[in-house]
Symmetry: C2
Subunit: 100 residues, 2 copies
Amino acid sequence: MPDIAPLSAAERAGALADLTAWTYDEERRALCRKLVLPDFAAAMGLMMQIAVHADRADHHPEWSNVYNRLDIWLTTHDAGGVSHRDVALAQVIDRCVASA
Amino acid sequence: MPDIAPLSAAERAGALADLTAWTYDEERRALCRKLVLPDFAAAMGLMMQIAVHADRADHHPEWSNVYNRLDIWLTTHDAGGVSHRDVALAQVIDRCVASA
């Protein structure tokens, strides 16, 4: 299944060049974005918006929330690292953030 | 404000005797409950249910989700540890879990 193959380092760098809000977390082998929202309700609203898209794609984030902060990691366990599915979900999340 | 005073170790132990699903996380100075739900949608639903109660009480959890797992920590930063507000939120969370 090509969609769960891990990206090469070069492919990952290419993807991150377009995902300017994201970094690569070496330890978690994940794309990472850390967000600060206006308040808790805004953080919950964004999470729910992302959750609907993620569940429809059957690819789910790892995320932590404290009040208005939301930290998100995207990795594909079956691929042992970042795959195209993570890049696609990062793009969806960026659209959710932009429309929030 | 007595509601944000930290509990003594004895008071905390007394609270935990009733909160049987919770443990005390020394490092985070927090009450901790780790949940496994049927799936991602169930985890999101429970989070939203808890979120509404937490925001109304203006006391918010620290939590992480990965697919069907939800890890929750309750601490009161202004108190430097567990306060009565955390015990009250833990009780609310237990009721949410029981009714999910």
